[in-house]
């Protein structure tokens, strides 16, 4: 099987200073990769490189042919903290803007409108379509941005920390929804919370300067340490149980 995205020996960063070194990763259809790692380790940098926002300093990112023929059908849900919540824009328009990601010259305006309506309905936020985004709760906001990401019928869905600012109930709903979506598309999920995502993702990639691909969704603290990935596993039981170990 050919990968949708094939990343080879990629070094990338800002202002000639690489944040990530020699990354190799292949994303196949129906993959569900959990991207974990410490802050500043390069998780978001990797996403930006895949999205074409950062140019590789070394190596390359190859897309499969049907990925290239469309306008790179990637659905992207950014970190909500980067969104200006006072911007005068309605829920409907935010979702509709997802059409930019796909053949924006081929989709007819009426089609986009219909798709937008359907997605809002499906996600249960049709009733707030005319609200300004500043009036939404964290969970509603994530739903809106998930709709935007899905509008382009992506082959790959990329989510950057969708579980921040969201209550537990919505978090559960989100992961259920992602499991459904995963039947149709590959998903890359960035999270700082290994404990929660490990039961949903299929594989784990640890990012801290380098990338270590772990072909299972079960990972131990020892393995994290051997990947030079200083994050803590928080088991979500009644009593929070934290293992703290930092390796340099």
């Amino acid at each position: 099987m050919k990968p949708l995205i094939n990343i080879q020996d990629l070094s990338v960063g800002y202002d000639k200073e690489p944040v990530l070194f020699d990354v190799n990763l292949s994303v196949f259809e129906k993959d569900f990769i959990g991207l974990i790692g410490p802050n500043g380790g390069g998780k978001t940098t990797l996403l930006k490189a895949i999205l074409g926002l950062l140019r590789p300093m070394k190596g390359k990112i190859k897309f499969s042919e049907d990925m290239e023929s469309g306008q790179r059908p990637i659905g992207y849900l950014p970190q909500v903290k980067h969104i200006d919540k006072n911007f005068p824009i309605t829920v409907f328009e935010v979702v509709r803007s997802g059409a930019l990601m796909k053949n924006r010259f081929k989709l007819k305006s009426a089609e986009v409108r219909q798709k937008t309506e359907n997605l809002l309905e499906e996600m249960g936020i049709s009733n707030i379509r005319n609200r300004a985004i500043g009036e939404l709760s964290g969970g509603q906001m994530q739903r809106v941005f998930l709709c935007r990401a899905l509008l382009s019928d992506p082959k790959i869905l990329i989510l950057d920390e969708p579980d921040t600012f969201v209550d537990n109930r919505f978090e559960g709903e989100l992961y259920k929804k992602l499991a459904l979506l995963n039947k149709e598309m590959a998903i890359i999920l960035v999270s700082h919370d290994v404990g929660t995502i490990s039961s949903y993702v299929k594989t784990i990639a640890c990012v801290n300067g380098h990338l270590h691909y772990h072909k299972s969704n079960v990972i131990s603290q020892e393995q994290l340490d051997s990947y030079n990935c200083p994050i803590q596993i928080i088991s979500h039981g009644d009593i929070p149980h934290t293992i703290l170990k930092h390796h340099h």
């Binding site: 926002l53 990637i74 992207y76 911007f87 005068p88 824009i89 328009e93 803007s97 930019l100 005319n130």
Partner: protein
């Protein structure tokens, strides 16, 4: 009431009326963009820097508005350059160009032999002295802005809201940003004669704040801002005529008064 309508038969008043219409539309739309994108301060820097060009024009002897455009665009590019290339913090870089432009303006005017009579009208504006040629330029600017926004409305909105997403989707974000900054510079300069360098920020922000009381939808914000700008400018114009006070200041005062009244009204009604 007779005197009210008679005013329009005077050539100078009719021209002022047209200037108010053109200023309201251009400042309403561009101001809504500036406020939504939180680049009010950059716009202030560009506006004040344009004074340097006006001073240079007085000294060398060419059309002050041409000098103003030159310096406004130069400042817009200079701010970007200082921030991105020279690694100066953005707000500091704005302040540097803001004050540099004003300083150069003052030096140039000081060096200009003889008395420069209409300097005040550039600083504080005088809608009653707008010329026919200036009206044509304002009209042209309005056409350009309206066509640009009609054709690219959604692209402008989506880039303004989430630049990174637009970039990832392959929109020419940098090109759009340069086009909009040039439109801002032109809007500021061509409306200087209406309210002046020092007061123009108000036409770009107060009607927008008033409109923002009633809508959170970008399209409606553009239209409502222009409407409030028009209402305030015309009312201010009449007040300035009947009370015989400077027009620029009267217009700003009216705009603020409208905002304050409607804000209070909203507070008590809710």
């Amino acid at each position: 009431m007779n005197t009210f309508f008679e005013l329009f038969t005077y050539d100078f008043f009719f021209k002022a009326f047209l200037a108010a219409v053109f200023a309201s539309i251009s400042c309403g739309i561009i101001g809504a963009y500036i406020v939504s994108r939180r680049i009010v301060f950059i716009s202030g820097g560009i506006t004040h820097a344009s004074f340097g060009g006006i001073g240079l024009a007085f000294l060398v002897g060419f059309n002050p508005l041409v000098g103003a455009v030159l310096f406004a665009v130069l400042a817009a590019l200079g701010i970007q350059f200082f921030t991105k290339v020279a690694d100066v913090r953005e707000d500091s870089s704005i302040a540097i160009w803001w004050s540099l432009g004003m300083a150069l303006g003052i030096i140039f005017v000081f060096l200009t032999p003889g008395y420069t009579p209409n300097l005040m009208s550039y600083l504080f504006g005088n809608i009653l002295t707008v010329t026919r040629a200036e009206l044509w330029w304002m009209f042209l600017l309005n056409v350009v802005i309206i066509v640009f926004y009609l054709f690219f409305f959604r692209k402008i909105l989506y880039i303004a809201f989430d630049e990174e997403f637009a970039r990832a989707a392959g929109l020419p974000v940098t090109l759009f940003n340069y086009l909009t900054i040039i439109l801002i510079a032109l809007t500021v300069v061509l409306n200087i004669r209406v309210v002046g360098i020092i007061l123009i920020l108000s036409l770009l922000t107060i009607p927008q704040a008033t409109a923002n009381l009633y809508t959170n939808n970008f399209k409606n914000l553009l239209i409502l801002s222009s409407a409030f700008a028009f209402f305030g400018t015309i009312t201010g114009l009449f007040i300035s005529y009947f009370l015989d006070i400077p027009s620029g200041a009267a217009i700003i005062f009216t705009l603020v008064l409208i905002f304050a009244l409607l804000r209070l009204f909203k507070y008590f009604v809710k």
